[in-house]
């Protein structure tokens, strides 16, 4: 009997929903290393993936995991790994390789208290900048932030679709609170799930060059074993894939890698706006903190304050244009996040005037409560 995804309504752990979402998206290879709080993803996948013909391999470390992902993806199989802060730090060189080779893969970072070993079993949201700038050099990646178990399922599918469409590694910036939460998750039937696959070459092997982009700046991808004899290298390369160690080739290549994401921002960026139309104070948040922010906004409205919520679903690329637009009409931003101000910096950078940006921060280990966000809303209110 053919294995099927778990269509139906479930009471599910966030990590498990993420794993089931990966399977529904077509992931058939998982290489990982157990790390709290993402171990449950590995456990669920190790049980479910073989039923679908996939393989779970536990590599010796996270560096081997990300590299094995890239290898499997070059062979044409959708692949994923799951880790937390310390593992992500090990993976960043590999992520740089995936960016340079333009290989689709998905990395789940269930964030925890950091830096270093930090708080393995407690929540954190401090890896936002690392997801953007972790690897060396200038590059662009996509990062999504789920705030519920349902989004752990939905956004994992979206992550795979985006990574296949744009040939870029996609990070899912979850956090320990969402990962270890149990909630209602509705899994639709398989035929209702939209799956995007990477573009295949439409010319015969003799005419194929691996890095000639289409109009959307994404080249069709030839996988190993099909007679295309691709050469992929992490060195700066030209359109044939051969190393070309010149400034001119570097400018051409890296500029395209950056534009590939930047010029397609409208397709990639997603956010949620609640009560924003007449808002004077906008709370910006993501992940588990956004749920507390929603409660705070509702409470503020009850007290007559015109508050609204701007929830980031895509953290990178950052929705600068929307923040700029919003900043023109409001009195202040309140940014709530369990870190020292990583998204707050982005909001300060993106606003077009000097509207105040108040930060509501914790460093890790404890959730930000709605009352604390309300305090931020009230600050300098009177």
């Amino acid at each position: 009997m053919k294995a099927k995804i778990l269509t139906g309504t479930h009471y599910m752990l966030g990590d498990h929903a993420c794993a089931e979402g990966a399977i529904a998206a077509g992931c058939r290879f998982f290489a990982g290393y157990p790390i709290t709080p993402s171990t449950e993803i590995a456990e669920w996948i190790s049980r479910r993936l073989p039923l679908f013909g996939g393989i779970y391999i536990q590599m010796e470390d996270e560096i081997a995991s990300i590299t094995a992902l890239i290898g499997a993806s070059c062979g044409g199989v959708k692949s994923m790994t799951a880790t937390s802060g310390p593992g992500y730090s090990l993976m960043v060189e590999g992520i740089g390789l995936a960016v340079m080779l333009e290989v689709p893969c998905v990395i789940v970072n269930v964030q925890r208290g950091a830096p270093s070993t930090g708080l393995p079993t407690l929540v954190g949201q401090g890896d936002v900048m690392q997801a953007r700038w972790g690897s060396h050099g200038d590059y662009e990646i996509i990062a999504l932030a789920p705030n519920s178990c349902q989004e752990m399922f939905d956004l994992t599918i979206k992550a795979f679709n985006l990574s296949e469409k744009y040939r870029v590694p996609v990070t899912i910036l979850s956090d320990e609170a969402v990962g270890h939460l149990r909630e209602k998750v509705v899994i639709p039937p398989e035929e209702k799930i939209e799956i995007i696959d990477r573009k295949k070459p439409n010319v015969p092997p003799e005419e194929y060059w691996p890095y000639i982009p289409d109009e959307d700046l994404v080249p069709p991808m030839a996988i190993a074993g099909e007679g295309y004899f691709v050469h992929m290298t992490g060195l700066t390369h030209d359109e044939r894939g051969y190393p070309d160690i010149t400034g001119e080739a570097h400018e051409r290549l890296v500029r395209r890698l950056i534009d590939k994401i930047q010029k397609n921002r409208k397709d990639i960026i997603e956010y949620e706006e609640v009560m924003l139309d007449d808002a004077e104070i906008v709370v910006v948040s993501f992940g588990i903190t956004a749920r507390a922010a929603l409660k705070a906004v509702r409470e503020a409205r009850k007290k007559g304050i015109k508050a609204g919520l701007f929830r980031l679903i895509t953290i990178w690329p950052f929705p600068e244009e929307r923040i700029a637009e919003i900043s023109k009409k409001i009195e202040k931003f309140v940014v709530a996040e369990i870190n020292q101000g990583q998204v707050r910096r982005e909001v300060e950078r993106a606003r077009v005037n000097s509207v105040p940006v108040i930060g509501v921060h914790k460093l890790g280990g404890e959730l930000i409560t709605p009352d604390e966000i309300l305090e931020g809303i009230w600050k300098k209110q009177n």
């Binding site: 290879f29 590299t67 070059c74 060189e93 004899f229 290298t233």
Partner: protein, 281 residues
């Protein structure tokens, strides 16, 4: 003045290497070209279809091989070709995945991946070209540099013990282990053919001259002197315990096929377990 002839004769390996990229970047007297051509002859003689071969390399002079072979080739980050090859082989068991890299890439930064891939008996072939130093960065010492050798970062002589790579691979679980020098081009080709035809983790160490990085500081002379040294000092000992095959600075070089055992490979065991539990792939 006599004109240089550019001959129209076709090299027997012509379809296997990217002719437009020659001459390659390796120094005069470097053994990498011989190692690469031995690999390509082996592939040709076994008549493996070119689209079923994938070559993965790391960083270093050996790593540049990926750019010269006309098969699906991947030039990855330093130390990680074995991990990459693991992922590629699992995703595509139909491909013959070969890792071709250097001693620093495989045994230093990649050491962890080497011992684990050997432990798993992963179905890949690893060709480790050992020139006793880190050539690409100018000749620093590495985990295979013999005691007392001079390199740019051991100006007073190397005081670290080196690895015995066949011993390391065999004790980690590799099921086929061999060592040859580039002078033994014929035997090297035969060993590679054997490795490519069998399942399990195959490890072949290839000893190569490095006139620029290792030869000059250690006063070895011209690369031809190094090759003469291989001729005089290598002893073929097939089947011995790799523990006995230690190398020393300017000592005897023990070469041969040391280990060849039959053991179920990673993919074979995985398949068997799933079938026993009633899970079809």
């Amino acid at each position: 003045m006599e004109e240089t002839k550019l001959i129209e004769k076709v090299h027997p390996l012509e379809e296997y290497f990217r002719k437009e990229r020659l001459p390659h970047i390796w120094c005069s007297g470097c053994g990498l070209g011989i190692a690469m051509s031995s690999l390509l002859y082996a592939i040709k003689e076994l008549e493996i279809p070119r689209e079923k071969i994938a070559i993965v390399s790391g960083i270093g002079c050996s790593g540049r091989v990926a750019g010269y072979v006309r098969v699906d080739s991947y030039h990855t980050t330093h130390g990680r070709p074995i991990a990459f090859a693991t992922g590629l082989k699992i995703a595509r068991p139909d491909l013959n995945v070969i890792v071709f890299s250097g001693d620093g890439d495989i045994a230093a930064i990649g050491g962890n991946h080497l011992i684990h891939a050997a432990r798993r008996n992963m179905d890949i072939t690893v060709i480790c070209v050992n020139n006793f130093n880190y050539g690409m960065t100018g000749g620093q010492f590495g985990p295979t540099t013999p005691l007392e050798a001079i390199t740019t970062t051991t100006p007073y002589g190397n005081f670290e013990y080196p690895f015995n790579l066949p011993h390391l691979a065999a004790s980690s679980g590799a099921t086929f282990v061999a060592r040859w020098t580039v002078l033994h081009a014929y035997q090297l080709r035969q060993s590679i053919k054997k490795a490519l035809s069998r399942k399990g983790f195959n490890f072949i160490e290839v000893i190569s001259p490095c006139p620029t990085g290792f030869g000059r500081p250690n006063k070895i002379g011209e690369p031809i002197d190094e090759m003469r040294y291989y001729k005089e000092n290598s002893v073929i000992r097939n089947g011995i315990d790799p523990k006995e095959a230690e190398l020393s600075f300017r000592g005897k070089i023990v070469v041969g096929e040391f280990v060849e055992i039959e053991k179920p490979s990673y993919l074979e065991i995985y398949q068997k377990f799933l079938e026993e539990k009633g899970i079809k792939k």
